[in-house]
């Protein structure tokens, strides 16, 4: 049981982080707070994917002794020595897309503030109902 908790607690921490972001997106009424919640949510998802690439005792995925022989000499690579590179690549893309999404969301929030002079969701909805 204790070993099970040691080997799974980090997944539960990511889920807790994701719940914090989800709560902020759903309950907070301020638009910037909602965007902060979205950022936390996406970071938690990326953290989960990166954590699947971890191997015990593995190092960064940069091959050792690559430039010793001139040209590309095929070395026997010990796969267990390096972390899994594929989730890193995919999440590199996801981080950049996350910031692009955040930029567009902030631009929309600025536009909403210019029109309604408030960032609170309930006040915006009241102003929209008024016409």
């Amino acid at each position: 049981m204790f070993e099970f908790i040691i080997s799974h607690y980090n997944y539960w921490m990511y889920i807790g982080l994701m719940m914090v972001g989800f709560y902020a997106m759903m309950v907070k009424r301020n638009l910037v707070k909602k965007i902060i919640g979205m950022n936390i949510f996406q970071s938690a998802i990326i953290l989960f994917y990166i954590s699947t690439s971890v191997k015990k005792g593995a190092s960064v995925p940069i091959l050792e002794h690559a430039h010793e022989g001139h040209g590309a000499v095929a070395h026997a690579v010990d796969v267990m020595q390096y972390a899994n590179p594929l989730p890193h690549v995919l999440m590199l893309t996801a981080i950049v897309v996350m910031v692009a999404t955040m930029g567009v969301a902030l631009a929309v929030a600025i536009m909403i503030y210019k029109r309604y002079h408030t960032l609170e969701e309930d006040e915006i909805i009241m102003a929209m109902k008024r016409g």
């Binding site: 997944y11 807790g16 995925p61 091959l63 590179p85 893309t93 567009v104 536009m111």
Partner: protein, 97 residues
């Protein structure tokens, strides 16, 4: 409303925690994610691309079109930001006239 949202959050969290019970151990070298496809890239990236950093060789060589699509996404986001902020300025200018 707040109670309903909180209940939804905890329901989603409970479902996900139920899902993690079947996950492999954290840092297990024999987990399916690290035994299935990635050894190919680790073994062949040096002779295919002559780059010691496997992450950049996969990012720019094997998945070059993926990275190209990412730049398209960033370009679209930048254009969207510029157009949104510019439209607001123009509308206010028209209102004053």
């Amino acid at each position: 409303m707040k109670i309903l949202s909180l209940m939804t959050v905890f329901l989603v969290g409970a479902a996900l925690i139920y899902g993690t019970l079947d996950m492999p151990k954290w840092g297990d070298p024999q987990s399916p994610a690290s035994t299935h496809v990635s050894p190919y890239y680790l073994n062949h990236s040096l002779e295919d691309t002559a780059t010691p950093n496997v992450v950049t060789s996969v990012l720019a060589d094997y998945r070059g079109y993926d990275t190209f699509g990412e730049t398209v996404v960033i370009f679209t986001a930048g254009m969207a930001c510029i157009l949104l902020l510019k439209a607001g300025r123009k509308r206010r200018g028209n209102g004053h006239v």
